[in-house]
Symmetry: C2
Subunit: 229 residues, 2 copies
């Protein structure tokens, strides 16, 4: 059975890739990375290095045109600053609406692209690194449990039962994901999560904060945040 | 309220476009056409002419790369012949699996792209010309009622309740759609449905057969099938 992994080069999807390889063997795994017009390509660079490290087939597709008019602070087409507050603080000002780093229906689009690519390449499962911390208190509606269930159904039904989503971390926290990844020997120093594209992670954006905390809960320092020797 | 219409240039989506314009006014309607690597661009040419005829904003996005390895007879990358039998006949040989003109998870992908584009362009609804004949007896699993319901939920939930699908023909047959379109004055002679890209429709592929029948049920000849004067 062949598996397609939706693979950004961040810590969740890299742990997901390691899990898929453990389960199916590297020759039966395809890693798919989608670029969507981000302000930088640091994640994609990490994804490329990690796919090489794991020696799996790596596909890249550019879907930036779909988002070209979106008013989202992650995109190169936007002048908005990427917020430096926690998601809880950001949600106070958005009044329940998605945060400015919400890319319109991104995860729905990414899962649909994954479904088409998986079917076109004889994969029977899509590995998706979603976990229980991912919706960040409704900051990202396309990460909620209800959304995931609806997409799972749509992909199973719309493929005529040929394809399903495997979300190995769905009941786990991000800290649990890191714990699992440590057991699998994931080279986290090669991953990238920060929304900014500087040489070192900013340590302040929502995704940096979540990541640092997940490592800290496991009693370790995020390898990207370590002081230079 | 702004509406995005998923618009192929065929008879269903053109009737859907006319309905959306009737409801929202042409200045609040965006028509979105997706090319996916078909063997010809006759539908897209029709879509362009019709968008001009209706004087609405027309967006085109090419998603062909997503399907480049798909084994589907509609695609330019495939050597497969497009079947000339009815869907019922085709399903006898596929043993319940989708027919060879099934493009992997195409409608799921198209609706997801529509959702992202709609949100990025301040639309609150997606018009989608699905009707009750559309699944063609499971020939197309991504046209089934259950699939549509799952996608509707995914889009509503994944957008944080900002966006929903409107499917004005969901309880109607294709013949009913044509009847509605005749009332709205849709210029059906400008549409294109045939899977082949010849000067005239083949009259034999699944979509030609369905279309001819829908006009015949209304007591008229498909305007594209009329003998030359």
């Amino acid at each position: 059975m062949k598996a397609l992994v939706l693979f950004s080069g961040g810590i969740d999807s890299t742990t997901c890739l390691a899990s898929a390889i453990e389960q199916h063997g590297k020759d039966n795994v395809i890693a798919l990375s989608l670029s969507y017009g981000q302000k930088h390509d640091k994640e994609l660079q990490s994804a490329r290095k990690l796919a090489k490290y794991y020696n799996v087939r790596h596909m890249e597709i550019d879907v930036a045109k779909i988002f070209e008019n979106a008013d989202c602070s992650l995109l190169a087409t936007s002048d908005k600053e990427i917020p430096k507050e926690t998601y809880a603080e950001q949600l106070k000002t958005t009044q329940g609406r998605p945060v400015s780093t919400y890319v319109p229906f991104r995860n729905g689009l990414f899962l649909s692209v994954s479904a088409s690519v998986a079917l076109a390449n004889d994969c029977s499962v899509i590995y998706y690194g979603i976990h229980s911390d991912d919706s960040a208190g409704n900051a990202y509606p396309d990460c909620s449990r209800e959304f995931n269930e609806a997409m799972n159904s749509a992909i199973f039904l719309g493929s005529g039962g040929q394809l399903r989503i495997v979300a190995p971390f769905v009941g786990m926290t991000k800290a649990d994901v890191v714990k699992k990844g440590m057991e699998l020997g994931v080279p986290y120093e090669m991953t990238w999560s920060c929304y900014e594209g500087n040489e070192k992670p900013c340590g302040l954006c929502g995704t940096c904060r979540d990541r640092i905390k997940a490592f800290a809960t496991n009693g370790i320092t995020d390898p990207l945040m370590k002081a230079e020797e």
